[in-house]
């Protein structure tokens, strides 16, 4: 059971997390600026038609796998982490909360708006422009939250361990 929970669970969590955040950083560091340049020379369709849908598919499903594997690792300590019941679980609890907020940001804000941008849902040009802005800002919020989230995910086992366990 431990092998599944901590061995495979941690491996899945890290691997899916790399895929999720890697694509988030791709959207923020590469695609946002590339899209502006592509729109200027009329080649944006290549990105919106062939690149963005594939990237978004792995992006949102990697978020699901990351969250589920993280919850599996927390196991019976899930309430200690999320409700900050145990001091030792506060750092990972903060990381878990930030990751959970990011997950809902992906599925409740970014993806529904991206569907409008990519033309998967019928909408007017005004709605599309608004969806583009909302999805962009939600993506930037996730980019900001990813920094403390990663800090607490990695720090919970190192930086905060010394005063709590020694």
């Amino acid at each position: 059971m431990d092998v599944l929970q901590y061995g495979i669970g941690r491996w899945l969590h890290v691997m899916a997390g790399i895929l999720w955040l890697g694509l988030l950083y791709y959207f923020n560091f590469v695609q946002a600026d590339a899209m502006k340049a592509a729109q200027a020379d009329g080649t944006a369709a290549g990105i919106t038609k062939h690149v963005a849908p594939r990237a978004l598919f792995y992006f949102r499903w990697a978020a699901v796998v990351t969250l589920l594997a993280g919850l599996m690792m927390l196991g019976p300590k899930i309430d200690d982490a999320y409700l900050f019941k145990d001091k030792a679980y506060i750092p990972i609890g903060v990381g878990a909360w930030l990751g959970t907020i990011m997950f809902f940001n992906v599925w409740a804000i970014i993806w529904p708006n991206q569907k409008k941008i990519l033309g998967l849902v019928a909408c007017t040009d005004d709605e599309k422009a608004r969806a583009r802005r909302v999805a962009f800002l939600a993506s930037r919020v996730n980019m900001m939250l990813s920094m403390p989230m990663l800090f607490f995910m990695t720090g919970s086992g190192g930086l905060f361990r010394t005063p709590l366990f020694h």
Binding site: N28, F29, A32, F84, K87, A88, I90, P91, V94, F136, L137, R140, V141, M143, M144, L145, S146, M147, P148, F151, F152, G155, F160, P163, L164
Partner: protein
């Protein structure tokens, strides 16, 4: 006469500094990648000190 000259002088000075006549629109830090990274670092620092104070023995 003097008041009019002063007013004219002030108007001329203002015309050299457009931001004094029209306030610059407030920029959203999320529009800039650097602004987003700085916000992320600031949030990390705030949460670090908050959590450290909570877990301190």
């Amino acid at each position: 006469m003097l008041r009019r000259r002063i007013r004219g002088g002030c108007a001329r000075i203002r015309s050299q500094f457009p931001r004094m006549t029209a306030p610059a629109p407030v920029k959203n830090p999320f529009d800039s990648l650097l602004g987003t990274v700085i916000l992320g670092l600031a949030l990390t620092a705030i949460l670090y000190y908050l959590v450290r104070s909570l877990v301190a023995p």
